[in-house]
């Protein structure tokens, strides 16, 4: 039941094979957040991985940077249909942070400093696929984009890249986070248009 909108298509966004279906390239960087932007200083920021046995691995701003910050150039895709291509980021690989973590759980609940959550399979966070990002576009991450640090999981829709990231808590089964309870897909692969359920 394809509907054709006659006369549509005169102005078109840039087409690019790197754009997943239903996405449009933008030049600016839209902001999407469920509530007010929290003001978190680098002094009070921390990031913790909590395992199923209650063991906690914790980094503050200084010890996070000692792990090693790397450059990442990647495309990002928001569920609200915009994408940015070839965007420069800097951050700490999640692989490095999991080096000493012992877990048999396959799922992670990501929690933010302002209390929101999103669920991500552990397999989507390892093997060079995810970072704790501290810089974007050559500058420190601004608060409205999740600064001082946010999760960066660019192969999933961008709500999974939680702003103001605070914790990853290991889970034996996949439980929906805040966004997923509010209608967003459990996994969110942009190439399969896993937007909503």
């Amino acid at each position: 039941m394809a509907i054709i909108n006659r006369g549509f298509g005169g102005r078109r966004g840039t087409s690019d094979p790197r754009l997943p279906p239903g996405q449009t390239l933008v030049g600016d960087w839209p902001v999407l957040t469920a509530g007010p932007t929290p003001d978190i200083s680098t002094d009070e920021w921390s990031f913790t991985i909590t395992t199923e046995t209650g063991v906690q691995h914790r980094w503050d701003w200084g010890t996070l940077h000692e792990v090693g910050v790397e450059d990442v150039v990647t495309d990002i895709h928001c569920v609200t249909h915009w994408s940015r291509l070839g965007m420069p980021w800097r951050g700490v690989s999640v692989d490095r942070l999991f080096e000493d973590v012992e877990t048999s759980c396959d799922f992670v609940m990501v929690r933010t400093h302002d209390g929101y959550t999103t669920n991500v399979p552990l397999d989507d966070l390892l093997e060079g696929q995810a970072w704790i990002a501290t810089e974007a576009d050559g500058e420190a991450l601004t608060a409205e984009h999740g600064g001082p640090a946010r999760l960066l999981v660019p192969h999933l829709y961008f709500w999974k890249s939680a702003k103001w990231v605070a914790e990853m808590r290991m889970m034996p089964t996949d439980q929906p986070g805040f966004w997923e309870q509010n209608g967003y897909h459990l996994r969110g692969d942009p190439w399969r248009e896993e937007r909503y359920w």
Binding site: M1, A2, I3, I4, N5, R6, G7, F8, G9, G10, R11, R12, G13, G22, T24, V26, G27, D28, W29, P30, V31, L32, T33, A34, G35, P36, T37, P38, T80, H81, D114, G115, T142, E144, H145, Q181, N182, G183, Y196, W197
Partner: protein, 244 residues
């Protein structure tokens, strides 16, 4: 509260269109399979060119409840590719694909048991989902107090002007940033923290707050609200546009 209204693809038909402001149209779309929607939710419109090219955009819904008649008010984004078509080219009788209803967080439902007052704060076309909430409240005989603070450029840029003027259960205050109506006690100018404090429920009554507008507007207003002592957990926001 968030039960029902499952999102799916639907085909709708434009049954009426009229100018809403100088740059926006109001569309009534009949969607026979529409499940209904909460006040504040949105939908995706997908347009398809004759050669198969497609583009999708999200728009807030101005109507709510079980009806299959969906009301949108779409503002033209001059550099856009979907909104100019919707504003200038989409005609009565045309069909289009919609996906929704979407969003279960930036919504208000009449069944909401929270007795606290509800403060709506809109910048520009961000009034659309907030109008849906005020309209849903209007149709209830009993319920909590609503206020709407609406920042618009000029009187000609006010969405739902006559409907807002007729609301009896929501107190409406419009701040005009460029030109005020004749006889207005308030000279044109941007919203300030002082006028925000004067025209909204105070923190002491712990209102629920919904803010919708362009990103810089929402960032500024929500920061001011926190400085005025409002609880961040009770502020829900929806932004559009980039941060530059």
């Amino acid at each position: 509260m968030t039960a029902g209204f499952r999102a799916a693809w639907h085909v709708g038909r434009v049954v009426s269109r009229r100018a809403e402001t100088r740059s926006a149209v109001r569309l009534e779309i009949e969607v026979p399979t529409w499940p209904g929607n909460h006040a504040g939710s949105h939908l995706d419109i997908r347009l398809t060119a004759p050669d198969g090219y497609q583009a999708s955009r999200s728009y807030s819904i101005a109507s709510s409840g079980p009806a299959t008649r969906v009301v949108l008010a779409v503002d033209e984004v001059l550099s856009g590719e979907v909104s100019p078509y919707v504003v200038h080219d989409l005609r009565e009788g045309d069909e289009l694909e919609v996906h929704g209803p979407l969003g279960r967080y930036f919504v208000w439902t009449p069944e909401d048991p929270d007795p606290a007052p509800v403060q709506l704060i809109a910048g520009g076309s961000g009034v659309v989902p907030l109008f849906a909430m005020a309209d849903a409240r209007e149709r209830q005989p009993h319920g909590t107090d609503f206020r709407l603070l609406y920042s618009a450029r000029t009187p000609d840029d006010v969405f739902f002007a006559s409907e807002l003027g007729a609301l009896t259960k929501t107190r409406v205050d419009i701040v005009h940033t460029r030109r005020s109506p004749l006889g207005s006690p308030r000279p044109p100018g941007r919203l300030t923290q002082e006028s925000l404090a004067e025209l909204t429920f105070p923190a002491g009554v712990a209102p629920r707050i919904f803010v919708c507008g362009p990103t810089p507007f929402v960032e500024t207003v929500s920061r001011w609200l926190l400085e005025l002592g409002q609880d961040p957990a009770r502020i829900r926001t929806e932004r559009f546009g980039g941060s530059g």
